[in-house]
Symmetry: C4
Subunit: 483 residues, 4 copies
C-alpha cells in the first residue's frame, strides 16, 4: 500500500496549492481535483490536511472515489495513531437510551421531533431547509388542511383497501417515497434501509440521483415484486448521465425514470447555507469583489440548466426504454404540454421540491385544481402524482380525491430513518397507511377509485387558484408538429 504518512506531514498540505486529504485510511493528493469538485472547492479546502472520512462517507455512494480521482492521486496510507480526527457531530453522542421507541411515536411531527434530536446539525439542516422564508414549505401542508372532508354515513366500510397500481406496478398503497438525497446522513442504513422498509409494506420508492448509496446497493435486497423508480438530474457532462442511465437500465427492480425539472438552478436554502452544507462559491469567495461576472456562476453544481421539451426528451428516449416521469410540474400549462408528449411521458409529478426550490411557488393541490379547471383531460393522458407537505392520511386522501394517483413523501422517510433506522421508516409508512385507511372508512369508501370531488370541499383553496391568462392552443400547435 505504499508509503505510510504521519498525520503531521499530511497536515502541512492544507491549501489550494497543495491539498491532501485522508479517506478510509488512505492519503490522496486532491490538489488538481479541488476546482472540479461538484460540491464546490471550499468543502474540500476546509478538510485539507485532515482525515475527511467522517464528512465524506455519508454523502458519497461507494465508487465515487474511484470514479473521480485518478490512480496517481493515491499517495499511501496514514499511520492511524497520528490521525487528527475532525470534530464529532453534535447529536451523535449515542445517548439513545433517553429517546422514546419509534413504536410509541404517533404522527409525522413526533417522528421529526425525535429525528431532530438524534441527527447532526448538518443533517438536520439538509433535511429541514427550504427556499428563502419557507413560505411554500409551510403552505404545502396548510393547503391540505384548508380542504375539508365530507364524511358519508351508513355505508359498509368493513373492507377497505389501499391497493393500487402506479405506472402499472402493483403496490399496496398509493403512498410512495420521493427521491431525497443523502439518507446516510441520517442513518448508516441509508437508502437501502428505506428500501427494506418499503419492501415490507409493498410501497414504491424513487431513488435519488444524489443518493448516498449506489442504485445497485439500494435495490440489492428488493422484495419480490418490489418496484423502484430512479431519479435523473441531467448532468452538464451528458456522458456521466448516459453512463448512469445505462447502469440503471440493467437493474430490473427499477421500473421507470423520473426526470426532475424544478431545480435547473438550486433554490436558496438558508438553513443549509448556515450549516455549511452548501458552499455558495460566489458569496464566500468572489462576491467581495462584487463583479458582475460573479453573478453568472451560481448554478447547481454539475446540473444542466439547458433542458428543453423537444431536445431532452428525444435524447432521453434513446438512453432507455423505461417509462419516463417528469417531476416538478407546477402549472397547468406544463401539465398540458406533458400530456402532448404522452408518447414519451407516462407520468408527471406535481411538486415544488418540498418548497426547496422557489419560495412562494404553489403547492401541488393548487396545480391539481388548476388542471381541473384548464385541462382536465390531462388526467387521462398521463398518470398524475404529487408530493410536498403530506403529513397525514387525510392529506393523502385529499390529493387522491383531486385526481392524483400517487402521493409522495420526501422528508418523512428521512426523519423516520434518522429517528429509528429501518424501523423508523416502517413506522412512518404504517402511520400514514393507517391514517389513510381510517380516513377512507370514515368517508364511507372501500377502494381508492371511489374517491372523488364529492368527498372534499375545496372552496377556500379555489378562491386562491390561478385564473389568469393561458395559451394551451398555442402549445398544441408548437409541440404537436414535433412529435
Amino acid at each position: 500500500m505504499g508509503k505510510v504518512f504521519d498525520a503531521a506531514e499530511v497536515a502541512k498540505h492544507n491549501t489550494s496549492k497543495s491539498c491532501w486529504v485522508v479517506l478510509y485510511g488512505k492519503v490522496y493528493d486532491v490538489t488538481d481535483f479541488v476546482s472540479e469538485h461538484p460540491g464546490g472547492a471550499n468543502v474540500i479546502l476546509k478538510l485539507a490536511g485532515k482525515d475527511a472520512t467522517e464528512e465524506y462517507d455519508p454523502v458519497h455512494p461507494s465508487g465515487t472515489l474511484e470514479e473521480n480521482l485518478k490512480p496517481e492521486t493515491f499517495l499511501g496510507t496514514i499511520d492511524p495513531a497520528t490521525i487528527i480526527k475532525s470534530e464529532p457531530q453534535p447529536g451523535a453522542s449515542g445517548k439513545t437510551e433517553e429517546y422514546p421507541p419509534v413504536q410509541s411515536l404517533l404522527n409525522m411531527d413526533e417522528i421529526e421531533e425525535l429525528a431532530t434530536k438524534k441527527v447532526s446539525k448538518k443533517a438536520w439542516a439538509y433535511y429541514y431547509s427550504a427556499a428563502d422564508d419557507k413560505i411554500t414549505k409551510r403552505f404545502n401542508t396548510e393547503a391540505f388542511r384548508s380542504i375539508l372532508l365530507r364524511p358519508r354515513v351508513f355505508i359498509d366500510c368493513t373492507e377497505c383497501s389501499l391497493e393500487t397500481k402506479l405506472l402499472g406496478n402493483q403496490v399496496s398503497m398509493p403512498i410512495y417515497v420521493s427521491p431525497a438525497a443523502q439518507a446516510r446522513l441520517g442513518h448508516p442504513s441509508g437508502e437501502a434501509g428505506i428500501a427494506e422498509a418499503c419492501g415490507s409494506f409493498g410501497a414504491l420508492q424513487i431513488i435519488s440521483n444524489s443518493a448516498s448509496m449506489t442504485p445497485e446497493q439500494i435495490v440489492a435486497n428488493a422484495a419480490p415484486g418490489q418496484a423502484f423508480g430512479w431519479q435523473l438530474y441531467v448532468q452538464d457532462d451528458r456522458n456521466k448521465s448516459v453512463k448512469m442511465i445505462a447502469r440503471v437500465n440493467k437493474l430490473s427492480a427499477i421500473k421507470f425514470l423520473v426526470l426532475t425539472l424544478d431545480t435547473p438552478v438550486m433554490g436558496k436554502r438558508e438553513d443549509d447555507q448556515r450549516s455549511g452544507n452548501v458552499i455558495n462559491e460566489i458569496t464566500e469567495i468572489e462576491a467581495p469583489e462584487g463583479s458582475k461576472e460573479a453573478l453568472e456562476k451560481q448554478v447547481f453544481a454539475g446540473m444542466d440548466p439547458s433542458l428543453t421539451w423537444t431536445e431532452t426528451l428525444a435524447w432521453l428516449e434513446k438512453q432507455t426504454s423505461l417509462p419516463i416521469v417528469l417531476k416538478g410540474i407546477q402549472t397547468h400549462e406544463d401539465a398540458y404540454i406533458a400530456g402532448l408528449h404522452q408518447s414519451r411521458v407516462k407520468g408527471i409529478i406535481l411538486s415544488n421540491h418540498g418548497g426547496r426550490s422557489l419560495d412562494t411557488s404553489p403547492p401541488a393541490v393548487h396545480t391539481l385544481l388548476e388542471m381541473r379547471k384548464y385541462c382536465p383531460e390531462v388526467f387521462d393522458k398521463v398518470e398524475v402524482w404529487i408530493d410536498g407537505g403530506v403529513r397525514r392520511g387525510t392529506d393523502v386522501v385529499k390529493a387522491l380525491c383531486l385526481g392524483a394517483k400517487g402521493v409522495g413523501i420526501g422528508r418523512p422517510p428521512l426523519w423516520g430513518l434518522a429517528a429509528g433506522g429501518v424501523d423508523g421508516v416502517k413506522r412512518t409508512l404504517q402511520i400514514l397507511a393507517d391514517e389513510t385507511k381510517t380516513c377512507m372508512r370514515l368517508l364511507g369508501v372501500q377502494r381508492l377509485d371511489q374517491l372523488g370531488m364529492q368527498h372534499i370541499n375545496t372552496r377556500l383553496l379555489e378562491q386562491q387558484v390561478y385564473d389568469g391568462p393561458s395559451n394551451l392552443a398555442g402549445y398544441r400547435v408548437q409541440y404537436s408538429s414535433k412529435l
Copy 2:
C-alpha cells in the same frame, strides 16, 4: 367466598399465559378473556396480577363483570392487607379547598379550566382529545364565532322564553346533553348526576351507549316529565344490541333512540392514545412485523362497521317502536337521504362527534348552510339538531337561526360534572341558558320560533361552504323504491 389469596400469589399471574386480576376484593382468572376484551388485550395485561378496581370501576357500568366473565373465572377473595394498590391518579389529591366554587365560574372556559385541574390525566385526555391535529375541534367553535348577529332595537323584550319541544317532548330549553361516555371518570355521580341536573332545569339528555352506568341507574330518579334519549352503537354481535334495546324499551323515561353513524371506525385521538386510554392493538403489538394484514384490524372494538340505510333501519325498526334519530350526518346528501326515510327517521343530528372522528370534517353550521342551499325541504321532514363546539349562548342562537331545533353540548356537561358534580352541571346549564336568553333579548326576540336567517350574517361562512357536485335525484330513485 372460597379461597383467600395473598396478593403476592396473585402477582405471579401477570402474563397472557396466566392472567389474574382483583376486582372489588375478588380474584378472577381472566386468561381466556384477555383476547376478547373489547378495549383491547393490553389494557388488561397492564393490570395483570394487580388490584384493577380503581381502573376498572369508573369505566364499566355495573353488571359488566357478570355479563362478560363466566362463573368459573372467580377464584376467591384477596386478603386486603396484602393488596398492591395501583398508583393514585394525579389530580385526585383531594386538595379541593384551593378551587373556586362553581357558582363563581362565568363561562364554559372557566368550567373546563377548573375541571382540568381536578380530574386525572386519563379523564382529561378522554374528554379533551379529538382527531389528529384537532382542526375540526377548533373549527367547530370558530365557525360559530365567524357568524355575526344582527340585533334589532325598539322591540319589547320583557318576556323571553326558551321553552320548546324536542321530538314532541316539552323541554325548558333547546340545549340538550349529547351522549358522552364515561362520566364517572370525572365524578362519582356520573351520568346519573348529569340526569339530576337536567331534571332540575327541564333539559333533555341523551345517554351514551358507553355510559359508565346502566340506563336503569341513570333514569332512576328522573323528574316528572323528564325526557331522555338513548344512544345506540350497533355491535358486531347484534345480539348484544338486541338485548340492550330490549332493556331500553322498558324504560318509559327514554323517549327515542339515537343511532350514531359517524364513527364506524374510531378516529385517531392522540391525547387519548398517549394517556393509555386507547390501546392501539396493531401499533403496539403487531405493527413491528409490518404485515399488511395487520392494517385490516384497526376497527372500533365491537362496533359494527357494516351498517347501511336499508338493512340497518329495517332491522332497528323491528327492535323498537321508539322514534329513531340519526347522529353524525355531515353532508346535505345524507341529510337528504334521511329525509327520504322520514317514515322511520324522525330526527337527525348534524355532528362531527366533537371533532373526535375525522379531522378537517365540517362543523355542523356548514352542514346547516349546505342543507339550506341544496335541500331546504329536509327541515320540514325531520327534526334537525346539531352539536359540536357550542360554548356560548350566542352559539346556540346562531344554530337555531340556521334551522336547528335542538342544540347539543357534549364536553361542557362532562367538564361541569368534573368541576363540581351535580352543581357543576347545573352551573353549565344555567350559564348557557342565561346567555341564550340575553342574546335573544338583545336581538329583540321573545320566542325561539321567531329566530331566523334575518338575525344572523353568515357571509364569511358561506364563502367556505361546499358548492361541488350533488346527486339528490339519484338518491331519490335509489331509496324511494325500497321504502
Copy 3:
C-alpha cells in the same frame, strides 16, 4: 345632627335583616332599601355595617342619596375616630411621580396604558370590559384597520379644517364624546372635567344617563356655544325619566336627547363581573336553586325593556322639544325605520355599545355599508353618527367617507381622564384631531364634505357585510300609517 354612633355599634347591623351604612359621616338604616337598590342588593350588603363612602361616592351623582332614602333612614353621625375604613383601592397609591406626563403620550394605546396603571382595578374593569369573549370589541377596531385609504397627490392642502355642524350645532371637529358612565371612578373631576376639555376644543359631548355627576354640574362651566347631548335610558318607573327629562329641558347647553336602544338587558361583561362591579343577582344568590323562574329576572336594573317605536317615541315627544337621536342602531332595517320616523328622529348613532352589549354584533362600519347597499336614502333623512373602536384619526376619516357625520369616542376620553384629568382628555382630543387632519391632508382633502367613497377601499369589508333577506317595503307599510 342627632346621635353620634360608634363604628363598632354600626358594624353589628351588617345583614339583610338590619343593614346600616355610613355615608359622608352620616349613619343610615338602609334595611328597607336593600331590595330596591338598582345596582342589586349584594352591592349594599357587602358594605353593610361599614363606611361605604369611598365605594359610593364616585358612582353616584350628588342628590342621589336624598332622592332615594326617606328622611327617617337617617340615624345620626359617626364618631370619625372609630370608623373602619374599607380597603384602599390598588392603583390609588399616589406614586404619580413614576408616570410620564400626558403631553408625552403619542396615541390612544399609550393613554390607555397609563390610565390602566393609575386607576383602581374596579374602574379599569368597568371601562375595559365588553361582552363575552370581546370579539366585537376587537372587531370594532380591526374593521377600521381593514379599510385602506387612497391618498391623492398634487392637491393644495395648505388649508385643512375639521369644522362641521352636528345636528345644527357648530363644532370644531366631527369627533364627539360618547355617553359613558362613572367618569369619577377614573378621576375626581369626572364628567365636568371632560366637559372642560371639550369646551376648550369646541367638541361636542353626550352626557351619560348614568353619569357620576348631575347634568347641572357637568354643564355648569360650559364655554360659550359649547353643545351637549343627554343620554336617556328609559326607566321601568317612567316617572323617574319624566323628572330627569324635565331637568334636562331646563339646561340650555343641552341641545338634543340620545335614546339608547342597544341595551334593553345588560350584556355579559365578565371583567366587570369578576371585579364585583356587577352583581349578578341570579347567579350569586338564586342560581344554586336552579329554579327556572330565576332565569326570568336577569334584567338591567331599573331599565325598561319594553320600548317600541310607536309607543316610546310618542311618549318621548311629549316630554321634550329637543331633537331626538337614537343610539344603538345595528342593522339597515332599523336605520330605515328610523328614517320613516324622521319627523321625530333627527339622528341615529350606529353603535354596538363599544362591544359591551352583544358579542359578535357588527361594528358600525358594517352597518354603514349595509345602509349604502340597502337604503342609502336614509343618509338624507337623518344625521348618521357612529361610535365604537375609534382609535386613530384614520378611523375617523374612514367613517366620514362612508357617510357618517359624527364620530364618537367612548373609552378614550375616560382613559384620558384617568391618565391625566382634564389635561388627559385634552391630550386625547388633540391627538385624534391632529391625526384626522394629517390624514385629510395626505388624502388631498381640505374640508370634511369632500370626503367620500373614492377615498377608501372597503373591498375586504364588503365581502363580510350582510346580504341576506330584507323587508323594507313591509316596514314602510307598518309604520307609515302610524306617523
Copy 4:
C-alpha cells in the same frame, strides 16, 4: 480666529433668550436662528450651551452652516480642553469584533438585524419608523408574499440577465436605490458610500433632497456611465428649490428629477417622535394650551403643501430640462393623470413612502393591479417604477411581472450601510440581484422583458383591490385642455 471661549462660559447661553452652540470647534450665537430652524426650535435648544457637533454633523450636508448662519453669528473658537461632550450614542461602542462579517449575511433581515445592533437608537428610529401602527409598512412586504409564482419547466435558463434601461439609462439590474435621507446617521461614508456600491454594480441611485451630503459630494466619484436621479421636495421658499435645481442641473451624472408628492405633510412616525428625531412643535410646546390655532401649524418643516398638477409642473419645467418623475402615486386616478401629462412626466413611482406617510395606504402592488384594471394604457405612456417592502428577489420579479420597470429599495441600503459601510451596501445589492436571477431561472425566464402576468398568481390580492367609483373621463377633460 477671534476670541477663545471657555466651555463654562458657553454653557451659560443655554436658553432661547441667549443661545450659543459649538460646531466643529467654533462658537456661534444662534439666538436669532432658533425660531427659523426647519427641524424645530427644540432640537437646537436641547443643545444650547453645548458642543453640538456630534448631533449636527451626520444630518447636515456640508455648506449648511454657511448657508443658514450670518457671518456675525460666529463668535470665536472653543478651548478644546474645556468642552462638555454630549453623551456618546448607544451602539457606537466600537465593539465591532463581536459582529459577523457582512459577507456571511444571507438576506435583508439579517442585514437589518446587524445594523440594528450597530447604529444609535436615533438612527435606528429614523430608519425603522413608519406611520401610526405600521400597518402599511408590514402590508408592503406581506402583499408581495401573498402573490404566488408560477415556475415553468424544461426551458433553457443557462443564460439569465438583469440588464435593462431605466428612463433610457443602461443599468445592470432593475433594482435601484430609493431616495432616503441621512445616510451618515448610519455610517460616515454616507450617501457617497451608497454611490460607490451602486457604481460597482451598475445600479441606479436616487439622491434624497434631505441627504446628509451634498449632491456634488455624492456623485463626485461616479463610475463611468453611472446614473443618478435627484429627489426634490419643493420648499415653501421656492428660491431655495430653484437654487438647488440649478446646482443639480450642472451635475452630468444626475439624469432625472424625482418630485416626491406623498408627503405634503409629515406622517406620524411615533418611533421617530419617541427618539427625539422629530420634534412635534405643537404637542411639546403649544399643545398644553389646546388652542385651535395650534392645530393649523403641524406642517412639514419648510415643505410646500400647495403643489398642484398644472402650476407646479409648469414651474418645474422652467427650472430644468431633466426628465421628471413623480414619486408617491398611490391610485390609478393619479397614475392616469400623470399619463395625461406625459409631455412633462416621463415616469411615475408607485410608493407609499415606505409606509411612513399615511397608515393603511395601499402597497404599490395594489396600485399596479388597480392600473391594470382601470387604465392599463398608462404603462405605455410613462415608465412605472415602484418601491416599498421589497426584501427578496422574488418581490422584485413579482413587481416586474405586474408591469413595473424599476424596483426601488429604501431601507435595505441604509441597513446595509449601517451594517458594513460600502461593503454592506454591496452585500445588499448582491443578495437581491442573486435572488432575482435565481427566481427568473426557476420561472424559466432569461430576460426581464419576458416576465408577465402568466408568471404570477395574484388572486388573493385581486380580491382586495379597489373596485369603487372612478372618473377618468372627467380628468381627461380637466387636464387635456391645460396641456
